[in-house]
């Protein structure tokens, strides 16, 4: 299969890669760009572990072709912390023990940030529905919800 060159922006930096036309964005990020923060839990859109934003929209990178990234802006978990400071969501996840094994955490953080960018004060129900595409098998979600709420509070008062 002939590979295709793609120019894109990842976490604010210009990036170029080549990929096969049937390669997913998730595979490109993980295998070609060395960005292994996005995880593959299913490869079929069911778990959200591969969540990234594409031109500001939350998507499953396993359901996007690498070639579709041409000219787009991609944000991954690796871009969430700025400099040496954690994003308030990241800090809240540590403070509220919102992770056990942590495999779902990158996807959930990316998804939660997309929500708070849109709605700084979501209700618990809104939060639970927004995150319904992010499976976590360890925590029962409770501490995740608390952590996002705490981060949202902190971001509103900042």
């Amino acid at each position: 299969m002939k590979t295709v060159p793609v120019s894109t922006t990842i976490n604010g930096d210009a990036a170029e890669f080549i990929c096969a036309p049937d390669e997913t964005l998730l595979d490109v990020l993980r295998n070609r760009m060395g960005l292994t923060g996005a995880k593959e839990g299913c490869g079929t859109g069911d778990c959200g572990a591969c969540s990234v934003t594409l031109d500001g929209r939350l998507v499953c990178s396993c359901l996007v072709l690498g070639v579709e990234a041409e000219g787009a802006e991609i944000a991954t978990i690796e871009g969430l912390a700025t400099g040496d400071g954690l994003h308030p969501l990241q800090q809240a996840f540590i403070d509220h023990a919102a992770l056990q094994c942590g495999i779902c955490t990158p996807g959930i953080l990316v998804a939660a940030k997309a929500l708070l960018d849109k709605n700084p004060d979501p209700s618990e129900t809104e939060l639970r529905y927004w995150l319904a595409g992010n499976l976590c098998r360890c925590t029962g979600y409770d501490k995740i919800i608390r952590a996002v709420q705490a981060a949202a509070r902190q971001m509103r008062s900042a």
Binding site: D22, G43, G45, L58, Y129, A132
Partner: protein
């Protein structure tokens, strides 16, 4: 596999027509990529329609809206005027998958994928929506109701693409609603579903109705007996019982891993009843 990103519908149709092998149109990709992963299709050509001019626009037209085939569910949900006019259609689209899936999935893709359980389709059929289809001989219009022809099968030919879906203007005192049954609250495929589109007379009785069921037959089912039961009445207990029975009678479902035929039949009627009450309230009716 090759990947093409045409900029016009004509170019897209040309690419499809000239490809001898297996082709796939790519909109949001939430069905196509799953199929690629499963190996259930191995296309020779993928035609990505998202960069075709106008396909990502929602445009007012004749009191209704024309929705480009590449508009995502999330974009639909953010369009206040569209949500106000056709809340039931939008809620059907917005039930598809997760937030992540909503960021990509399109209404046209849902339709063209041909699943009997597609969540956008019953609402579109209840709304008498039409699709504009571009083909080798130019554009044609087709009722959405005529597009699904069986599980995984549609009336859209392999060298055609749907370019937009049109939702018409609607009379005063109208409302629509869509409900589906899934075992969880999210992330499931409908086991049964119902869309109801109503227009009320000034006295609060139902003047016009369309009741459509999903996931209970090879394609969506327009249940005219259910509409007949509603017309001229308010959705009181007796009327709803007739509607529910008519809906259950119209079901022709299968047993599968998602639900038994018996369950689907029973629940479709319940959903139609509940959707009727929501649509009635949205139309301004009060019991």
């Amino acid at each position: 596999m090759r990947y093409a990103r045409p900029e016009t519908a004509t170019e897209a149709v040309g690419l499809l027509a000239n490809e001898a092998g297996v082709t796939r149109v790519l909109a949001g990709g939430t069905d196509v990529l799953v199929q690629l992963r499963a190996g259930s299709v191995t296309p020779d050509l993928i035609v990505d329609i998202k960069r075709i001019a106008g396909l990502r626009a929602i445009t007012p037209e004749a009191g209704g809206f024309r929705i480009g085939a590449a508009v995502s569910g999330a974009e639909l949900g953010e369009h206040a005027a569209l949500c106000a006019l056709w809340p039931g259609v939008v809620e059907g689209c917005n039930l598809i998958g997760s937030t992540q899936v909503q960021g990509r999935a399109t209404m046209a893709g849902n339709l063209c994928n041909g699943s009997p359980a597609a969540d956008a389709v019953p609402g579109l059929v209840a709304a008498e929506a039409t699709a504009r289809i571009e083909g080798p001989t130019g554009p044609r219009e087709c009722a959405v109701a005529d597009i699904p022809t069986g599980p995984g099968k549609t009336a859209v030919q392999r060298d055609e693409i749907v370019t937009s879906i049109f939702l018409p203007a609607r009379p005063a005192r109208s409302g629509d609603a869509y409900l589906r049954f899934i075992p969880r609250t999210e992330m499931d495929i409908a086991v049964a579903s119902a869309a109801v589109n109503l227009t009320l007379a000034t006295d609060g009785t139902i003047a016009a109705a369309r009741v459509v069921l999903g996931a209970v037959a090879p394609t969506v089912v327009l249940v005219t007996e259910a509409a007949t039961a509603l017309i001229g009445n308010r959705p009181d207990a007796a009327t709803l019982a007739t509607l529910q029975a008519a809906c259950s009678a119209a079901c022709n479902p299968i047993d599968d891993k998602r639900g038994t035929a018996e369950f689907r039949t029973q629940v479709a009627g319940v959903l139609a009843k509940r959707a009727t009450l929501i649509a009635y309230a949205r139309a301004g009716g009060s019991l």
